[in-house]
Amino acid sequence: MKDWKYWVAEQRGTLFAFATFVVMFTIYVSNHPAGFTANVVQTAANKGVLLAFVAMAQALVVITAGIDLSVGMIFILTNCLASWIVVGTPLETALGIVGVLLAGLACGAVNGLIVIYGRLQPIVTTIATGAIYFGIALLLRPFPGGSVNEDLADFLTGKIWGVIPVSLVALVVVVLVVWVPFSRSVMGRAAYATGSSEAAAYMSAMPIRRAKFLTYTLAGLLAGIGGLFLTFFTYTGEAALASGNAYTLFSIAAVVLGGISLYGGTGSAIGAVFGALAFRAIGDLLFVFDLDPLWQPLFQGVVLLIAVSLGAFGLLRVRNKLDWFT
């Protein structure tokens, strides 16, 4: 096999997600009444980027064969926090942003500490910590409200030279600053190895615990960036339970669409980003086809059900029945 064939085989999930996104977005834009204009792209980008950040957070944890059901709540918590502290002079705003990101980082670190050093199951742990984070969000914002530095918010949700959405640029920057260095580091390799086979990684003296801890912590940070952007889009903070649950659910859907195995060890966060954008494009198809918005939850649910069922085709390749049982 040539080198590029290996590369394609390795990136199959990501490429599939990218293709899905291109197809869905083309259908979306070609049926949109306004057509392919900068404004349509900007709106789509702003909605998609929020989910993309949360999906990247989920992807990091899923690669180590874990799961983080609190990402949606970290997203909500950082949104509520940002609506308090990301205001005022440029210096205050900058400090506020640092504070929000640290809060996200801290939430992720708490998850990591409990899961790794407390040796508890990630599902139960993150459901419980999710309740804690939502409680704190509710303490911060019992009622929707607050404000944000509007100049910064308008800039980050606007367009550069009237064409390129700034939120998309921010997403690319975060991928380059957080994901690329991580995935190429020893920790990143260890994270993949842990997800692939924890016992084998342990025997090979990989830094399992530090790698897992780092993924949970970075997941908190990415969810925090998502929450920060939510504040920039809405100008307010709101402790909405339904919204937090929806983002957790959609992040898992995006990860699956992005070609990351839930058993860990494969895929990339870039796949999850395209998975998130594709999922948003699918969800918005209803609007361009002028259907009743009431049908949107059902439509998204059915898309999710079909997407996860597609994984079953892998069973056809299984020769030994015993390999069904992982």
């Binding site: 508890l120 704190i136 303490l139 009431l294 059902l298």
Partner: protein, 329 residues
């Protein structure tokens, strides 16, 4: 020492009895007593029989739902579709009541049937398509939510619960003992029988320990998985029917608040989240423990936000006390 003295045999017997008591179940019951004592320091009402019966009644709704959650957790799976299965059960039984006398008579079975159908979809996804349970149940939860939103138009439905539903949730067949508690007793007795006295129960524990081994021992593991998920769905929907009877109405996302408590009740009761290990007595203790915790937090007038935080912290601490996995070596 080759001969065993009578004393020694007695000692062994006592050890056997002692070994039969799961430390996790004992801890859970200990925590219940502790909570009641702490509560009684705050207000003497906590030890009144009326209060305890009321708590038992509230716990029975959670108990029925947790019974279903326990069954799939014993299999090493998880059911995250409970929130909207509960809501679907409640809404569909109330909806059936609007269709004349036959609808009123069939309201409860119809609600349960809807839950069983959701459970069967979950089971087929897990058993035959080998989709991780967490994912397929999240997806069916979303579909069930979508169906209910379309059905109700996004508002709480106007249909009322039937007399029968209200009776089983709030009535008194035996004076002083709420019917809901009797319902839980029946469901619990059924669960204990199923888990300890039938080959289905053995198979559930077997699959939870190693599905591969269970398959090689001639168990049709896929059929067992589908049946278990169907029962779980049915029990969640039945819990919804009871809740609808209790508040005489179904409401949007009424089931959301039961997902964490149901799983927490099972896990706090000593059932391993990895499957294959756990007793129903533990789940009973877990359900009562969580209900008491919620009740005491609300009696102390801690706002919703604080309750969520304390609640999450308590669950994490209790899990850290006895739910830890062995260290990798």
């Amino acid at each position: 020492m080759s001969e065993i003295s009578p004393m020694g045999r007695q000692e062994a017997g006592r050890q056997g009895l002692w070994r039969r008591i799961d430390p996790a179940v004992a801890t859970a019951f200990g925590c219940i007593v502790l909570l009641l004592l702490l509560g009684s320091l705050y207000s003497s009402n906590f030890l009144h029989l009326d209060y305890l019966l009321l708590q038992l009644k509230v716990a029975s709704f959670l108990g029925v739902i947790a019974t279903g959650a326990m069954l799939v957790i014993l299999l090493g799976q998880i059911d995250l579709s409970a929130p909207w299965t509960i809501t679907t059960g409640a809404m569909m039984s109330c909806a059936a009541a609007a269709y004349g006398p036959a609808g009123v008579a069939l309201a409860i079975p119809f609600g349960i049937l809807c839950g069983v159908l959701i459970g069967i979809v979950n089971g087929i996804g897990v058993a035959y398509l080998r989709i991780p349970a967490m994912i397929i149940t999240l997806a069916t939860n979303a579909v069930a939510q979508g169906l209910m939103v379309v059905y109700t138009g996004g508002f709480s439905p106007q249909d009322e619960a039937t007399e029968a539903m209200r009776y089983i949730a709030t009535g008194f067949l035996i004076p002083g003992v709420p019917n809901a508690v009797l319902v839980w007793l029946v469901v619990g007795a059924g669960a204990v029988f199923l888990l300890t006295r039938t080959s289905f129960g053995r198979a559930v524990y077997g699959i939870g320990n190693s599905e591969r081994a269970a398959y090689l021992s001639g168990i049709d593991t896929r059929r067992i998985l589908v049946i278990a998920f169907a029962i779980t769905g049915g029990l969640a929907a039945f819990g919804g029917v009871l809740l609808a009877g209790y508040s005489s109405k179904a409401a949007q996302s009424m089931g959301d608040v039961y997902l964490l408590p149901a799983i927490a009740a099972v896990v706090l009761g000593g059932t391993s989240i990895l499957g294959g290990r756990g007793s129903y007595l533990g789940t009973v203790a877990g359900a009562i423990l969580i209900t008491l915790l919620q009740s005491i937090l609300s009696v102390m007038q801690i706002p919703e936000a604080g309750r969520q935080v304390i609640y999450g912290i308590v669950i994490v601490i209790m899990l850290l006390l006895y739910g830890r996995a062995p260290a990798s070596r």
